[in-house]
């Protein structure tokens, strides 16, 4: 039962989402879980994967893999999967991972199930758990052949450090011409401070109920006090109050932090699908009929302008004590 996990990195770190998927693979009981890191100067990343239970890490280290573009990665993976006879390939969702997984599916004529929230073994077969149609129905999906390719929703699994070491093995990097014809001119630089929204354990998000862009400082201050990241709804991003990169929802990021605090957010379906798998959801909204209350653990009917700053002070006081 060989499993391979696509380990995506940014800077010197493997993404938490990738490591979470790796931990999931280990938890499935496979004795043969391998990871693959691809990039330039990425050899040291293997150690991070070993800590989360990979017994083997394939390393594709090549200048042509430095930019986070999908097609060269498809070339490397397709060859590796064929050579090693890998049966199951797992990806944590991202813009890059989705493109790699889909290209690989076509290359290998392999089944790809996406947007999975979980993967289990039932009656000796793998079953993917997929909440669909705005999570109104849960679908059990499977694969008719190998290799199976699974793409998980962001934040489906937390990384679990089990310790240990991994063998590393260099893999051949032979690229197709068309795979290298797209070229990175300028790669995105690190964004500001604080954890990135998809990796954040705590997200404080603001919506139209804040009243104006200047009131986002309330959200930012609470996020800072809790050591979390700031999220925003489609409505306020569209209105230019906050950058698109913070948008949570159907056309933004899908997140599942341990704590999600929604400030002045009504909870439209567009937003709900991006955050409803959060561990604990707290909502503050002055409209008692806001849909957000239907899927909150704690709903507060109140004015965000009063409740949020008070909460920030209380959190600071508690942490200071």
């Amino acid at each position: 039962m060989s499993m391979l996990v696509f380990l995506e990195h940014h800077g010197d770190e493997l993404l938490k989402g990738s490591l979470g998927v790796l931990s999931k693979a280990v938890a499935l009981g496979s004795a043969d879980v391998a990871g693959v890191v691809m990039g330039f100067g990425v050899r040291p990343l293997a150690e991070q994967a070993a800590k989360c239970g990979a017994v083997k890490v394939y390393v594709a280290d090549d200048a042509r893999l430095e930019a986070p573009l999908p097609q060269p990665r498809v070339d490397v993976l397709a060859r590796l999967i064929r050579e090693k006879g890998i049966e199951t390939v797992l990806f944590g969702n991202s813009v890059l991972a989705a493109d790699v997984a889909a290209g690989l599916a076509a290359r290998l004529e392999a089944g790809l199930n996406w947007d999975l929230a979980d993967l289990v073994r039932q009656d000796d077969r793998f079953v993917g758990k997929r909440p669909a149609l705005q999570d109104s129905v849960h679908v059990d999906v499977g694969w008719k052949s190998e290799p199976r390719i699974a793409l998980f929703r962001s934040g489906s699994f937390d990384p679990v450090e089990t310790g240990g070491s991994a063998d590393t093995e260099d893999v051949t990097v032979a690229l197709e011409d068309f795979s290298t014809s797209a070229r990175m001119v300028d790669q995105a630089h690190e964004e500001g401070e604080g954890p990135s929204i998809e990796d954040a354990a705590v997200i404080v998000a603001g919506g139209r109920g804040l009243g104006g862009p200047e009131n986002f400082t309330l959200v930012e201050e609470l996020a800072k006090a809790l050591g979390g990241a700031v999220g925003a709804t489609r409505a306020v991003v569209d209105a230019g109050w906050y950058p698109y990169s913070t948008q949570v929802g159907q056309t933004g990021k899908t997140v599942s932090p341990k704590l999600y605090i929604a400030c002045g957010i009504s909870g439209a379906i567009q937003h709900k699908v991006g955050m409803q798998s959060s561990g604990v959801i707290v909502a503050i909204n002055k409209d008692p009929n806001a849909p957000i209350f239907e899927f909150s653990d704690l709903g507060v009917v109140g004015d965000v302008h009063e409740v949020v700053p008070k909460l920030t002070e209380l959190v600071k006081a508690r942490k200071g004590s």
């Binding site: 014809s181 698109y244 604990v280 507060v300």
Partner: protein, 257 residues
Amino acid sequence: MKIAVCVKQVPEGNSRIDPGTKRLDRSGAGALNGFDANAVEEALRLRDATGEGEVVLVSLGPAKAQDVLRKTLAMGADRAVHVSDETAGGSDLVATSYALAKALEREGADLILFGQQAADSDGAVLWAAVADRLRLPVVSQAAELTHAGGKLTIKRQTEFGYDLIEAPLPAVVAVSDAINEPRYPSLKGIMGAKSKPQETLSLAELEIEPERAGEPGSRTEVYALSDPPARADSRKIDDDGNAAQAILDFLAEKRLV
């Protein structure tokens, strides 16, 4: 420049899955996948910037997708190619990308555009599979797209910010819904759409073997459907001036502070 835009008909309003076939129920009214409108808009802008070229809609779907194609032609596209075949129903990514690539191969467009996801299946994967079959470069999540000298410059939005990527034509690009504001069809456009060429092709006409389409051509399957679990013990309080303290106590109880 010849631009092919891949568009999908999705069920209008709330979708449901047919418990019998375990497929999406497509019996009701159809609408253009909203995200595809951004791809159509971008194609029209690119064509109109130079005043030459052609925008072709390419769609795979049931017979009634014709209506959606006509409505989309009304936005200003030049013609439509509709791949429609009963045996294509239930196609997964492998089968869909194969059929679509065959239709696109026949068109030989300089640029192939997609919207950022399918609103019904939440899939955001088709372009990369199609590009691999066509052996063309692919860039997704394009927030800006410019064309000069046979080359595309794309601002790609990822989880880390914006990348700037160049790709030669022909290429496949999936645009984000932040790239533009799609136009509404004008009355003239709606009237004109009726006389625009709409071609319907069967899988056989695209030389697609039946075993590569529909469920036989798919590598994934659906086992079962179930209701999602309800959220346990949710609480709702009115702010009487102490709500902030109540939230803090709640977070402390959950060990979140």
